[in-house]
Amino acid sequence: MKVLRDDLHVLSGSYALDALGDQEREEFERHLQHCPSCDAEVRGLRETAARIAIASAVAPPARMEQRVLAAAYQTRQLPPLAGPRARRQDQDRRRAQVARLFAVRPGRVPRRVAAFAAAASVAVAVALGVTQVATQHQLKSTQASGAAITRVVTAPDARIETQRTSAGGSVTVVASAALREAVVTTTGLVSPPAGRVYQVWVISPAGARSAGLLARTGTLLASAAGPADRIGITVEPAGGTTHPTTTPVAVLPLALSLLASPARSPSWSGDAAQLGPGGRT
């Protein structure tokens, strides 16, 4: 169900109470990134929900404490997310990578990043035009993605990763964990067979979700892409499908350590929902 933007705001209460279905939740989370007042409201309402929870506290069985403590002390903890200093180091490394990718000297990268972003947003329009999948709605969102792409590519926490694909050429993903968005750029893939297109997927533990169709050389913006998700590209029938039906030509993790090891290719047997381990963290 498509919800109009004006109506999205009213979902803050349902979101704070985990009362949205998956699709609306993702849509609302995208909305939150551009709506600081909604974000503040959600945080306030979560405090309220917490007060309701505290008021309904029940003493757990006594045995639970020892179990939890014992399990905890055998469990490795997650490292903190990058602080300002680590972010700066990441940014420097990212610039060096961008520099390599576009063969420019590191000192000049910021301008090049902006140029990359501008080129990328043009490429989105071209890609959608060429593959003739642009409905009026998509055109609108394409214009919006120009700005969004710039935002992702220039985000302080943006990570970049390039991988060769089994369909020739390469795919580059620039992702921001904070924005939960990724810019996917293909370069020089072979032309797909007649009646086939390249389709981009955001692969999460819950399954694969289409991020749109992409030309052999083109750019698109994948939204609601969490740090643990992966980006996959498959060859699909013209118009795209709801689930991937072929072995991906490339899979890139978004939990982008800059020195990330090559992605493992998942094998999916028709049902994308079986991909990845279950559970959410």
């Binding site: 109506d7 009213v10 979902l11 803050s12 209460g13 349902s14 704070a16 109470l17 985990d18 009362a19 949205l20 279905g21 945080r43 306030g44 309402l45 979560r46 405090e47 309220t48 929900a49 917490a50 007060r51 309701i52 929870a53 505290i54 008021a55 309904s56 506290a57 029940v58 003493a59 757990p60 069985p61 639970m64 404490e65 179990r67 939890v68 403590l69 399990a71 905890a72 002390y73 469990t75 490795r76 903890q77 997650l78 490292p79 903190p80 997310l81 279950g278 559970g279 959410r280 963290t281």
Partner: protein, 199 residues
Amino acid sequence: MGSMSRPDIRPWRPVPAAEQDPDLAALLARVARGDHRAFELVYSELAGPVYGVVRQVLRDPAQSEEVAQEVLLEVWRTASRFDPARGSAAAWTLTIAHRRAVDRVRSENAGSRREQKAAPAPADDADVAEFVVATMDHQRVRRCLDGLTDLQRESIKLAYYGGYTYPQVAKLLGVALGTVKTRIRDGLIRMRDCMEVNS
């Protein structure tokens, strides 16, 4: 209200959130560094609310215990990701708890559920009340809940205690989707304002 408690449900008397929370945030920072003592203290503050909220959604004691354990282990594992600038430690933890409980319900329903199928039977209000013990915080929440319209109150209870999505809530209450999402939001806002005034 306290007299309605089941024998196996012992009351839990936490310090009001506003007072305990600065400590909890500091404790979580220590937990992130692997401090066992700090985690024990966090456990003693939050195990009751975590178990309470999970049990209210799941009902089944064994399943609730399992999920509550997962949640508390998650608190240990991800303590470094808690950001005090974005909210209280209690809200962070209980958001994880509620989310996990709801995920469990929905993944169990997913196999058989169809979009238009009738939602499961609603939580009986007496069942819910049975879990709620008489603490200061409880009295305040109760008073604020009483200040809501019936539709606001029922919508919030079904969504939060019942773990239903708002379309399911709409179906259970026989009202329009738009009405329910609006009532959940304005009801919660009223709760928020009411509890600020009363705390």
